[in-house]
Amino acid sequence: MKPCPEEIVQYMHDYLDGEITRRDEQILSEHLEKCQACQKHMDQLSRSVAFLKSASHIEAPEGFSDRIMASLPKERQGAGVRR
């Protein structure tokens, strides 16, 4: 079996970045139809991305902004009233 064209993996990433040209997308999809190994590669990449996107939204802990405001230096350098 002849090896897959080198640019196929690059096209997969272009596709995932939403930056693939119509022509390259055509080449990619035609290749994936006949190559199981690349199909699997693409599938694993897509699942990795979906997995990352499944990360739940994390919020700052209770009282976080109060703690920041309390820990700011009393006066900014060069601003405010000088004593």
Partner: protein, 187 residues
């Protein structure tokens, strides 16, 4: 939102410290989330996110008000996270280039934690597993991947935050996805 922020920045620069509170409220969740995903630890995330806001406050006069404030804030936070990650690693030979890695050094090739046995990983809850896999990414890829897939930022903005050319950001995201694919093959 950027308009409100710019108004508040002007007030802070005139000496009104309380105007900074609204800025903190607007960005605290995003900044904490980035730090948490980068560092994988709530205590450290709070520590670093807080440090980022304090630095932003102290250096506010250096912020170019023609630029996007969130980009500047994210930059401060990601730099602090990267510094923190590097400090945690053993400090021998870290700067030596690794052959065949395109100029990446040992900082980026060292995993965050040593990998766990497979049975342990399989027992993890989904959310625990997500954080585990992110923390195993080399840090050069991790920051780009977190900004892209957790914060869902456009590539151009990530390039400004990390102060890297767009092409480099794309390469890191590509390699990050490949690294994740390899880590998770058995999923």
């Amino acid at each position: 939102m950027e308009d409100i922020v710019k108004k508040r920045i002007k007030q802070v620069l005139k000496g009104d410290q309380s105007a900074f509170e609204e800025i903190v409220s607007l960005y605290q969740n995003r900044l904490y989330q980035v730090c948490y995903r980068m560092l994988g630890n709530r205590h450290e995330a709070e520590d670093i996110a807080q440090e980022a806001f304090i630095r932003a406050y102290i250096n506010l006069h250096t912020f170019d008000q023609k630029r996007k404030f969130s980009t500047w804030l994210y930059r401060i936070a990601t730099n602090l996270c990267i510094d923190r990650i590097r400090k945690k690693k053993p400090d021998t030979f870290l700067d030596a280039p690794v052959p065949g890695t395109d100029g990446l050094d040992h900082y980026s090739s060292l995993a965050h934690d040593s990998p766990l046995p497979e049975e342990e990983v399989e027992k993890m809850e989904q959310q625990e597993r997500v954080q585990y896999e992110i923390s195993r990414l080399p840090d050069k890829y991790r920051s780009a991947i977190v900004l892209r897939y957790i914060e869902e930022l456009p590539l151009q903005e990530i390039s400004e935050i990390l102060e890297l050319p767009l092409g480099t950001v794309k390469t890191r995201i590509h390699r990050g996805r490949e690294a994740l694919r390899k880590q998770m093959k058995k999923l």
